[in-house]
Structures are given as structure tokens and as C-alpha cells.
């Protein structure tokens, strides 16, 4: 009690005002120090994967010296992985699946979001809430019944089975953030269009899609990264290597192949991780907008 009272006396305030700059400098120093430590820890695993992928098998098997340094860098692992027909197959499968899923997701969610944001109809509010709820249902809750359903359709061990189920991962969130983006477009814009005699589809294509383009890009990036990284469904539904996408292909097939192929495994993992990382590097602002939109918008 007396201590707090003493703090409120004038000398205390003078002291504080005098040291404001020093305090500011100290805060900056702490900030940079913590960020540096965090950056080192956050970037160490990918860096170590890169180091390993540049080592020859002999160097990895030798197990001497610092594992964090590479003495005889070689691109053999990357050459081996990129020329392996199995890995090329994984890559192709991932591209086909992701391409189809992104296309389906964007068509479905833009149409639905437009209807839900602008054309108020019976149950549209409840449906919007339902969409968000669906987003909260994790894939690990659904993979067993979906296994039965996909099996019943004869699509187990097929990339088309994955194309069928991946939209459950992407559509709810994309619809949700698109509702947010569409709702933020001023009403005057579509009233003007209506007066000019535009039909609803025209309004969507000529006004909403161009105006909400940043949102559409963010949603597309989200759909791409999610379907590229999906792991539970392909692990459950695909067991033949020629139908596997990259994630499960790298994890199950490369690891099984040879215990000492760590260099190749890491090269494969890095190559598989490259597309989302490249997209992130070039479209960081859209990526982050999509990430934070879920909670701050709509």
C-alpha cells in the first residue's frame, strides 16, 4: 500500500519521464532479441531439412561431426527424387486433385456466398451459421464414415475419391470468408445495378467478383494450401502408391523404401512443400488476409 502511494509521488513521475527514451530503447532491444530467437527456432527445422537434402548418403551414414553442417554439398538427392517416376506421379496426382478441388471450391463458395450475403431468403441466416459450424467439424471426426461412403461409391484408392471429399475441408471456410467480403460491398452498388436492369448473375459477374477480387484470391490461396496439405483423407482412402498425392506419398513410400535415404526423404519433403511456400512468398498479404478473415470478418 505504501509502496504504491510512494510511486505516485512526483519524484517517481519525473524519474519515469526522464527515462522514457531509455525505456523505449530497452523495449526495442527485448523485441528484437525475442524475434531473433523465435526466428532461429522457427526456421531451424526447414533449414536442417535443406542441409540434410544436400548431403550424400555416405555423409549421413557417417554420423560424425556436426549434423548442422554440410561438408560435400551435392544435388544428387534432388536429381534422384525429381527423376523418380514415383515422385513425379505423386506430384501429378497432387496437381490434379488440388486443381479440381480449388475450381470446385471457388465456384461453389462464390455462388453460395453471393446468395447468402445479398439475396436474403428463408433460412439464409441459419444456413450461414451452419456453414461456419461445418468449418468447425474436423476431418478426423468424419474420415471413418466417409471411408464407408467413398468405399460404397467404389472410389477408394482413387484420386477422384479425394476430389470428392476434399471440398468438405475447403468449401465451408471459403464460403464464410466470401460472405464477409461480399457483405462489405456497399448496397448502393447493387441497387444501381438493379435500376440499370442487371440480372442477378450479371450483378455477380460484373460487380461482385471484380470488387471482391482480393477476397477471392485469399480464398483461392486457402483452398490451395489446404488441399495440398490434406493428410487424413489420403492416408485413410489411398493405399496404392500410383494414386497417392504428395503428402502421404512422401511420408509412406519414401520412408518405407530405405532406412538410410534420409537425404532423399528430405529433398522430397522440401519439393513437396515448395508450392505453398512459393505462393506464400509472392502473395503474403493475401495469404494473411485469408488467415485472419475467418475471425475478424463476417
Amino acid at each position: 500500500m505504501s509502496a504504491t502511494a510512494a510511486n505516485r509521488e512526483l519524484p517517481g513521475i519525473y524519474h519515469k519521464a526522464g527515462s522514457l527514451r531509455a525505456e523505449r530503447r530497452w523495449a526495442l532491444w527485448v523485441a528484437y532479441a525475442s524475434l531473433t530467437v523465435a526466428a532461429i527456432i522457427f526456421l531451424a527445422p526447414p533449414f536442417y531439412m535443406l542441409i540434410t537434402s544436400l548431403k550424400g548418403s555416405a555423409e549421413i551414414a557417417g554420423m560424425t561431426g556436426s549434423p548442422w553442417l554440410v561438408r560435400n554439398p551435392t544435388l544428387d538427392n534432388f536429381v534422384a527424387i525429381l527423376t523418380s517416376p514415383m515422385f513425379q506421379r505423386f506430384m501429378l496426382n497432387s496437381l490434379i486433385i488440388t486443381g479440381c478441388v480449388v475450381a470446385i471450391t471457388m465456384v461453389v463458395s462464390v455462388l453460395a456466398a453471393f446468395a447468402l450475403a445479398r439475396m436474403r431468403f428463408w433460412g439464409s441466416q441459419a444456413l450461414a451459421t451452419g456453414v461456419f459450424l461445418t468449418y468447425l467439424v474436423p476431418d478426423t471426426l468424419l474420415f471413418i464414415p466417409l471411408y464407408q461412403i467413398v468405399g460404397g461409391l467404389g472410389l477408394l484408392n482413387s484420386i477422384w475419391g479425394l476430389v470428392l471429399v476434399y471440398p468438405t475441408l475447403t468449401v465451408p471456410f471459403c464460403t464464410w470468408i466470401m460472405i464477409g467480403y461480399f457483405a462489405s460491398i456497399p448496397k448502393e452498388l447493387d441497387e444501381a445495378a438493379l435500376i440499370d436492369g442487371a440480372t442477378w448473375p450479371q450483378m455477380l459477374i460484373k460487380i461482385f467478383i471484380p470488387v471482391a477480387l482480393p477476397g477471392i484470391i485469399a480464398a483461392t490461396i486457402f483452398a490451395f494450401t489446404v488441399s495440398w496439405a490434406a493428410f487424413v483423407y489420403p492416408t485413410a482412402f489411398v493405399t496404392t502408391p500410383d494414386q497417392m498425392p504428395l503428402t502421404i506419398g512422401v511420408v509412406s513410400q519414401l520412408v518405407r523404401a530405405d532406412t538410410f535415404a534420409w537425404g532423399q526423404i528430405m529433398a522430397g519433403a522440401l519439393m513437396a512443400a515448395l508450392p505453398p511456400v512459393v505462393i506464400y512468398a509472392f502473395l503474403m498479404d493475401y495469404y494473411i488476409a485469408g488467415l485472419t478473415a475467418g475471425a475478424t470478418k463476417g
Binding site: 523495449a27 526495442l28 523485441a31 525475442s34 524475434l35 523465435a38 526466428a39 522457427f42 526456421l43 527445422p45 536442417y48 531439412m49 549434423p67 548442422w68 465456384v107 461453389v108 455462388l111 453460395a112 446468395a115 439475396m119 431468403f121 439464409s124 451459421t129 456453414v131 461456419f132 459450424l133 461445418t134 468447425l136 474436423p138 478426423t140 471426426l141 468424419l142 474420415f143 471413418i144 464414415p145 466417409l146 471411408y147 464407408q148 461412403i149 468438405t168 465451408p172 442477378w200 496439405a229 493428410f231 487424413v232 492416408t235 503428402t247 502421404i248 512422401v250 534420409w262 519433403a269 513437396a272 512443400a273 511456400v277 506464400y280 512468398a281 503474403m284 475471425a295 475478424t296 463476417g298
Partner: protein, 310 residues
């Protein structure tokens, strides 16, 4: 004449609502058409499977007979199941707490440095979130490798004895949490940074004039303004972490001796790998109560936030 007039009147009166009605009908039918694909996906691939899972979980192993709650009873009596339940809760709670704390700290640190540098740092620190989790976990697995662990090598430099990362179940649990925190902390950081930036500067100015200390600013300005985002993020992360599968599958695959299984990986093991689909469905359905509770509060938070912004 009069009849004619009244007829014309009726026709007119009928004509106006008719076209309006038709317009309304057209608008709602277009809306219905536009939402149909979404409805098909939500009902056919989420709602129906969810109920189908409940039905499945009440069948016997060969799915020929209805056995009621037998699968649940067997699970509740098995020791492995309780271990799985404990591990799932322990993992989710510890990991989410750590992620939230680290994310909060880093968001503040990012907010403190000049705007110019923020982009660069933010770009670097989000990398763990961008790499597909299954693949980065593969990198971690190699770092934990018992014969040539690069982490143990670093620890040896500061003369810490070798850690049996994936060999001992407690270390394996810690390893799983470490990887999850590594992947998830950047997400919290980004969310909190966005929230921090949305706190009006005037509030801090007013607090400064009133002579608030740094801690008071945090306690009475920042935290109340961020409370909703914090709770939404934490609950959302609790759902995702509790239902996590990738990390356990790649890092330990449940071992050593099934001691690191979480609900998702155990359901996978029982349902898909051992072919007991009904029991697997029962295992995964045990996640439902906690997930439903979290989902309810997330939804409430989001709705409240929407009202605030309107």
C-alpha cells in the same frame, strides 16, 4: 361499364402483386439454385456422414448386427482408451496454452518494432504454418532420430545428456507438443497481431495521460479489446489440436507401446488399420462432446464480434 371497370381494376390489382410475386419467386429460386451445390456438400459430405458415424458405431465388427452401445462400453472398460483420452486432453491443453502464450508474446514484440521491419519478420515467422504439417513433421522426426539427433547434438554442446526423444513415452509426448507448438504458434501470432493493430491508438493515448504503466495498459486496454479474438482463437485451436492426426502419425505412430495415441490416431488404428470400423467410429465420436462445447463458444464469440462491428 361498371363491370368492365371493376374487372380491369381486379386485373390491375392482381397484376401488380403477381409480377412482384414472380420477382420474389425468381429471386429466391435463383438463390436456391446458387446455394444448392453448397447444400449438397454440407448435407451429403458432412451432416450425413456425422449421423452415419453414430449409426456405424452401434454395429458389430462385421457390420451385420446392431449391438447398441456395446462398442462404447468396451472402450470405456479398456485401459488403452483411458490412456488415449488422457493423452488427447493433455496434448491439446498444453499445446494450446503454449501456442497462445508464445503467439501473444511474439505479436507484442512484432507490434513494438518499427512498421518498416514488421513485414520482413512476420514473413519469416509464419513459415512453420505455411509448410504442410505432415512434411515439416517429417523434418522434426529426422531431428529426433535416435542415432543421429541434431537436437541432441546441440544439447551436447551445452553438455546436456542425450534425450531419448521418441523412445520414452514422456519424451515422445513432449516432442509431439513441441512440434505442434512450432507449427501453431505463428498462427496465434498473426491473429493477435491483427487484433493488436485494430485497437484504437487514442485509447493508449488516454491511458498514457492518465499515467498508466505498461502493465496497466496491457491489463485495462489491450486485453479487454482483444478478449474476443483471444477466446475465438484459443477455442478454435483447441478443436484443431484436439482432433490432430498428422503429427502423431508421422512422429510416433502411437508408439512407444501405444502410449502417445490421441483420439484421431487411435480411431485410425482401430477403424482403418485393424478393420474394426464400428469401434473406430465410436472412438472418434468420443471427441464430439468437447468439440461441440468449443464450437458453441466459438460461434457465440463470432456472433458477438459481428454485432460489435455492426
Amino acid at each position: 361499364m361498371a363491370a368492365d371497370g371493376s374487372l380491369a381494376g381486379v386485373a390491375l390489382r392482381r397484376g401488380a402483386p403477381n409480377s412482384l410475386q414472380r420477382f420474389a419467386r425468381r429471386r429466391s429460386s435463383i438463390a436456391l439454385l446458387m446455394t444448392t451445390p453448397l447444400l449438397v456438400i454440407i448435407i451429403g459430405l458432412v451432416a450425413y456422414p456425422a449421423f452415419y458415424a453414430i449409426y456405424l458405431s452401434m454395429l458389430n465388427r462385421r457390420m451385420t448386427e446392431f449391438v447398441g452401445t456395446l462398442n462404447y462400453e468396451i472402450l470405456l472398460e479398456s485401459e488403452t482408451f483411458w490412456m488415449v483420452a488422457f493423452q488427447s486432453c493433455f496434448f491439446a491443453i498444453t499445446a494450446v496454452l503454449l501456442k497462445a502464450l508464445i503467439g501473444f508474446w511474439l505479436a507484442h514484440m512484432l507490434h513494438d518494432i518499427p512498421d518498416k521491419g514488421q513485414r520482413k519478420w512476420r514473413g519469416m515467422l509464419l513459415v512453420p504454418w505455411v509448410i504442410p504439417p505432415a512434411l515439416s513433421t517429417l523434418g522434426w522426426w529426422w531431428m529426433f532420430d535416435p542415432s543421429y539427433s541434431s537436437i541432441n547434438w546441440l544439447l551436447a554442446v551445452i553438455s546436456v545428456p542425450e534425450v531419448p526423444w521418441l523412445g520414452h513415452h514422456w519424451w515422445a509426448r513432449i516432442a509431439i507438443i513441441m512440434v505442434n507448438v512450432w507449427i501453431g504458434a505463428p498462427f496465434f501470432m498473426i491473429m493477435y497481431l491483427a487484433a493488436l493493430k485494430s485497437v484504437p491508438e487514442q485509447l493508449y493515448e488516454a491511458a498514457a495521460i492518465d499515467g498508466a504503466t505498461g502493465f496497466q495498459r496491457l491489463r485495462y486496454v489491450t486485453l479487454p479489446m482483444m478478449a474476443n479474438i483471444i477466446s475465438i482463437t484459443v477455442l478454435f485451436s483447441l478443436i484443431v489440436t484436439f482432433a490432430n492426426y498428422d503429427i502423431v502419425r508421422v512422429l510416433t505412430n502411437g508408439g512407444p507401446r501405444d502410449l502417445t495415441h490421441v483420439f484421431a490416431s487411435y480411431a485410425f488404428q482401430v477403424g482403418i488399420l485393424s478393420g474394426n470400423i464400428p469401434r473406430g467410429a465410436a472412438v472418434s465420436l468420443f471427441m464430439l462432446p468437447l468439440l461441440a462445447l468449443c464450437a458453441f463458444f466459438v460461434l457465440r464469440g463470432v456472433v458477438r464480434r459481428n454485432k460489435e462491428q455492426m
